[in-house]
């Protein structure tokens, strides 16, 4: 029907129904592609299903792929078909079909269809962002979309309830501290200890409090479906909920932070709740002598000239004999 509208004075001679041809090929191709995407690609798509947010992101990616396939096919088929049927391979140019006016119907329906797709995707994306509590993305210091049991204020986040296996809703807080070029973790529910290894319990909602001591980093445990920038002086909160499956995962830095940006990686482990509790309490005891020397647990830290990452503005820090020059 579109081609009829484009050429209102179409001659009566029998021409193949180009639009119908494209439409049928498109329908078949889209159906096949979407079936393949849903049944064969979806289960294997990044970032997997090992946490609630990872599964949500995977589902979103799949839906978007299924929406993208018909759009891509429509344009590809249209271009391909036109190149075959509406081309002139001779050396003498010929004029294409003339028409007096641009069809308003085509323009309006095009705008309507693209707007429909766009607003549909917006509603879908917003739902998928809000319902799973931020979809694993960093939500800043006071997250507005929280899972049940999450502390509602910075103060509450600073003083979380203790975590024990089986306690419900069992929210575990992990502070992630980025610095050039290393991640460390502090555990407010285990005496504020600081570790370089990351263990998480199964079937638990985790609150990552991500911050930095120097430049911007981005904490990205890929398999957990979590990503949150680590800004100096900012507590960036991200949530996810682990499933019952134990596994190991890699975490990386996803924001260029200097020469060893690519080396800010480590392996974390999701273990059973009991095993996690054993690890955490053992570490807490083992690290107690060191923990005493750490600055008290806080949501952000400001390093001094003498600490990690300090020294950028020495004249504003406390004067020391060495830096009292003009």
């Amino acid at each position: 029907m579109a081609d009829a509208a484009l050429t209102p004075a179409a001659p009566a001679q029998r021409e193949p129904h180009h639009f119908a041809r494209i439409f049928i090929i498109w329908l078949v191709a889209t159906a096949i592609a979407d079936i393949l995407i849903w049944f064969f690609l979806y289960p294997h798509l990044a970032p997997g299903r090992l946490t609630s947010s990872a599964h949500g992101d995977q589902y979103d990616m799949t839906v978007l792929l299924m929406c993208a396939a018909p759009v891509l096919f429509a344009v590809w088929l249209w271009f391909g078909y036109s190149c075959i049927y509406f081309s002139n391979r001779g050396t003498v140019p010929e004029d294409g079909a003339w028409y007096e006016r641009d069809s308003v119907a085509i323009q309006v329906s095009w705008i309507a269809i693209t707007s429909l797709i766009v607003f549909g995707l917006f509603v879908f994306g917003t739902y998928e962002l809000i319902a799973p509590a931020g979809a694993g993305g960093g939500e800043g210091p006071s997250a507005i979309w929280r899972p049940p049991g999450a502390p509602s204020s910075s103060y509450a986040a600073l003083h979380p309830k203790p975590w024990k296996p089986g306690s419900h809703p069992a929210l575990l807080e992990v502070q992630v501290i980025g610095q050039q070029w290393l991640w460390t973790f502090r555990w407010p529910q285990f005496g504020g200890m600081e570790t370089t290894s990351l263990y998480l319990p199964t079937n638990t909602t985790i609150q990552f409090n991500v911050t930095s001591l120097d430049v911007i980093h981005s904490f990205w445990p890929y398999r957990l479906g979590v990503k949150a920038d680590a800004n100096p002086g900012v507590n960036n909160v991200a949530y996810t909920t682990t499933t019952g499956q134990t596994h190991s995962f890699t975490y990386r830095c996803d924001e260029l932070c200097g020469i060893w940006h690519g080396d800010m990686i480590g392996t974390g482990h999701v273990v059973s709740q009991a095993a996690f509790y054993r690890w955490a309490t053992t570490e807490e005891k083992k690290l107690a002598p060191l923990t005493r020397h750490l600055p008290p647990y806080s949501l952000t830290y400001t390093p001094s000239l003498h600490g990690a990452g300090g020294g950028l503005y020495p004249q504003l820090d406390k004067p020391t004999p060495k830096s009292t020059g003009s």
């Binding site: 050429t7 990044a46 992101d57 140019p93 990503k227 507590n235 991200a238 060893w260």
Partner: protein
Amino acid sequence: MAIDQELYRPPPPVTPPEGGSWRQRVIPWWPHPNILTGILLGAGGYALGHFLGNVIAGNWARFGNTNMNDVALIIGYLVATLGFLVGIGALNYPVAKIFGLDPPLAKAAPRGLSRYFAYTPDHKVVGWQYLIGMLIYFFTGGMFALAIRTELLFPRYHSHIFNPETYLTIVGIHGTMMMMMMTSVIVGPFGNYFVPLMIGAKRMAYPRLEALSFWLTPPAYIILLSTMLVGGFPTGWTGYAPLANEAVQGMDGYEVAFALMALSLIITSVNMIATIVDFRAPGMRWTRLPMFVWGALTTSVLTALAPPVLFAGLYFMGMDRTVGTALFVDAHGGSSYLWENVFWFFGHPEVYILALPGFAIAAELLPVFTRRRLFGYNVSAAGMIGVCFMSWFVWQHHLFVSGINADMRPLFMLTTEVISIPTGFIYLVAMATLWKGKLRFEVPSLFVLAFYLNFLIGGVSGVFLSDVPVDVTVHGSFFVQAHFHYTIMGGLIFAFFGAIYYWIPKMTGYEMNKTLGWIHFWVMFIAFQLTFIPLFIVGELGMPRRYFEYAPKWATLNQTASAGAYAIAISMIIFVINLVYSMVWARKRSVENPWFSRGLEWQTATPPPPDNFERIPLVLSHPYDYGNPIEDIPVADLRGVPTPAVLAASAAGVSGGSDEIDDPPGPGAGPGDRGGEQ
């Protein structure tokens, strides 16, 4: 409508000074404005600026401890640029005016090759300067891309070609070169060269500003490359603070070079907007404006408004790094978000500054090669205007996981997705123009088709990135990198090469070799897919951008991408061979209008005479009325000064109140020159 350009006359001849003519008095070459004097004064200016900086800040503790005086370097760069501009003669006119003197009259415009190295108000020469300059910048940036892909051939620990500082500097220079030096890749060469020709003007509105806009780019280029001598910069083209605050001196070069380019962009766009608004020939109504001119106009609106924001940000950064303000340092009351916001408030419009000229070239060329009326002229222009407008409301989609304004993410998701509606207009126009056309597969049309196919993938993957849950996975990964290379390299650069093949016969009068053009296209097209499709996958699998070492499981995909990058380089070599062979060696005369285009720029002589048109043409019809069986009207009457009858007919058409784009003027219009309608 258009101001009377007949009033513009070349400057009067120079009267010889008392006591003899120019020739008799032997004046050495160096007091005259020229590029060698510019280079000398630039070098001297650097030394002077550096000395001044050491005088001012040499005993500051923050520099004394590190022996890296950022003040000296920045002042050195600035005075060097000033010296270069003085040497090349950019300041003669304005300074003379400021002191109330008669501006020094130009000697007879230089002829031959030397004028391409001069500060010249000739818009066609500036167009050539831009074209060659942009190709040089593009190939330089491409070399850095090859260096990146070479380093990424091997994952970890095996064999490093660079050390990490060098690698990050290479990444940064590649990005900065491509994103800033290449910003005016189309508006610079083709905008300056063809906008006056396409709107029927004899020159640009502000010829001196036009020259200045180009001559700011070589200092920016040199300064950007010079960062390698002072330790490079570790931030990539985005220059995120506070990493930029703690970076070594190379960062200063990034700031100054980027700021000079921002200045150049602002100047270009002011000139372009004034020209398009004021210099249109009679009959060149807004509804007859070629699509390329619409693209130049909307792009210029963005380049007039976005770079000032960048300029401010760079100024903040310069202050942070020199006098020790702490605008970006959280510990002293600043915020790392400030730079992110300022940068992307510039950066996202910048992305569309790079996309719109591609849209424009594609829409301009497609009707020529399908020989069918451009479908939806109004929709096509509206799409560009819509993109231009919407691009101001999306910048925080770069910050979805940064923790800032988390509650605003749905809004920025919406605006980002809404921008795909006007972008979609571009596809509606293309698809309907292809339909029942008579598409000819010439080299330019192949590049245009490739533009649409590549940009489609870039655009659709952009919708993925706008979806926050998906962005949580792919943000900052190679997926993003592949996405914007599809839009910029696959879109803009393909359109750029299409435009070169399309317009070079007009600019030189010589044909490009078609076989080499075909080989160039196919190698580039296939190699491009080979390079960036694996990078989509590797990003989706979790590889962050700007990695120096990566997990061995990603090696195959990275190696495929590297192979593709080398193949792109080969296609570029083929292009250069074609350019040199066709223009220098073969020099095969091109026919007057090889593509049978109706465009106004094709109606004048080839190559265009110094004043473009003998008389200001009278535009009679729409540039895309191909195959109109009802009334075969030429696009313009080049006899210029219209007869009263023609004028009356044209005026009747103008004031007829009809918005239709194809209303014919009265029969008095006469056939005129019908170059387009063979």
